[in-house]
Symmetry: none
Subunit: 230 residues, 2 copies
Amino acid sequence: MLRTIYLVEDDLDIASLVQFNLEKNGFEVRVFSGVAGVLPAAEKSQPDLFILDIMLPDGDGLDLSRDIRGSPGLVAIPIIFLTAKAEEMDRVLGLELGADDYVTKPFSPRELVARVKAVLRRLDQPALEALVSAGDLTIDPGAVKVMLRGQEIDLSATEYRLLEYLARRPGRAFSRDQLLQAVWQETRFVTPRSVDVYVRRIREKIEADPENPCYIVTVRGAGYRFEAPQ
Amino acid sequence: MLRTIYLVEDDLDIASLVQFNLEKNGFEVRVFSGVAGVLPAAEKSQPDLFILDIMLPDGDGLDLSRDIRGSPGLVAIPIIFLTAKAEEMDRVLGLELGADDYVTKPFSPRELVARVKAVLRRLDQPALEALVSAGDLTIDPGAVKVMLRGQEIDLSATEYRLLEYLARRPGRAFSRDQLLQAVWQETRFVTPRSVDVYVRRIREKIEADPENPCYIVTVRGAGYRFEAPQ
DNA sequence: CAATTATGTTACAGCAATGTTACAACCCGG
DNA sequence: CCGGGTTGTAACATTGCTGTAACATAATTG
């Protein structure tokens, strides 16, 4: 999907540099050299992201962002600020206008592109990032991290995916084949028995007593089920 | 259904920005600028979700969450934390306060709204497969689990399949051959008398008095029938 | 009431499902 | 190209399920 970015920047050197780099990365860029005209255009064409310089000849990027946040159709569109000085950055933070990120000049075009992608990626995946908790266990899908009583647990990629899949669907039993289908993408060359081995490995890491598991319980004849203990 | 969210945040700019965005998405928002008064109000009106800033003028959001988790009426209500720094996030996870998610400042209103929705959606996701109930007995086909007066009953795979088959068709009698056909796939090598044995085993596990069964009753000359007692 | 038939009950041998361990192939970063 | 970690499988161990037979008991019949 083609993403459109509104870049509001009066310095033409910077503007064309940024524009070039963003377009090279597959974004459509529309450049404004001042506050004027941004809001009406945005309300019409609904960009995917704003990059706002703070100091502009005909106004203030912060005021513009306030207008954006005040417009019902634009309130949710992410904003990245460009600031020349640290003090300005403090103002951005202080105002808590829902800035999604900020970059201080001088900046590298690559860094800015990376941040643009990060912000858009983050907004694409919000539902997947909510914490999953059960008993002493907390899974942070955003960080791809598992905590047990405050201690980080080291899991391999497959172990993590299997645990997350089960923990997101607590109380439901899944057959080995279902798990292979969901957690492994290629089910053809993988034995259902591999699931047993991975369940064992996870139990070793998260269960107080791996012989009497309370998180991933065996459902004889059916498969495995994740349970929130107690 | 109108969902009520308690927002505890001392920065009025942030609070009103969040309030505006949540209300725009159909939530009712009640704003508190500090810890004081939150708990009594919550115990009265039972909000659907808390959003807690961690640093507050008159206390600590973490302490407040501890109180929420300690109150019987509020223990299950989800909490999303607002944190200024990543280190604070680790504290949230480390303390095992049952956080459902966290958002670090600066955040975009859209992201926060998305996370609120994700948390609420996750909570009212019921088992996809409907429960089968009869008397003190509840069968959860999704979990492949049988509960008797709230206690989980341990059944073997065949015992479970037979009980589920009968319980889904209460009041109807089935011959041993019919049951073999339905519950066992291979009827050729199995004696009809095996059904008797399995009925006995199930009775031992679910009947108060296995000699006077009230769930699986014998229909002399015909087979067995499941009944909802009382 | 005895004979007959249907169902209940128990114990057990065989075996299928799962647990467990070790290992070879593989991948990936240094 | 080397070393550490990951991955999937095989092989063995173990658990407890499974179905049957044999006997016990209850219901039905004449």
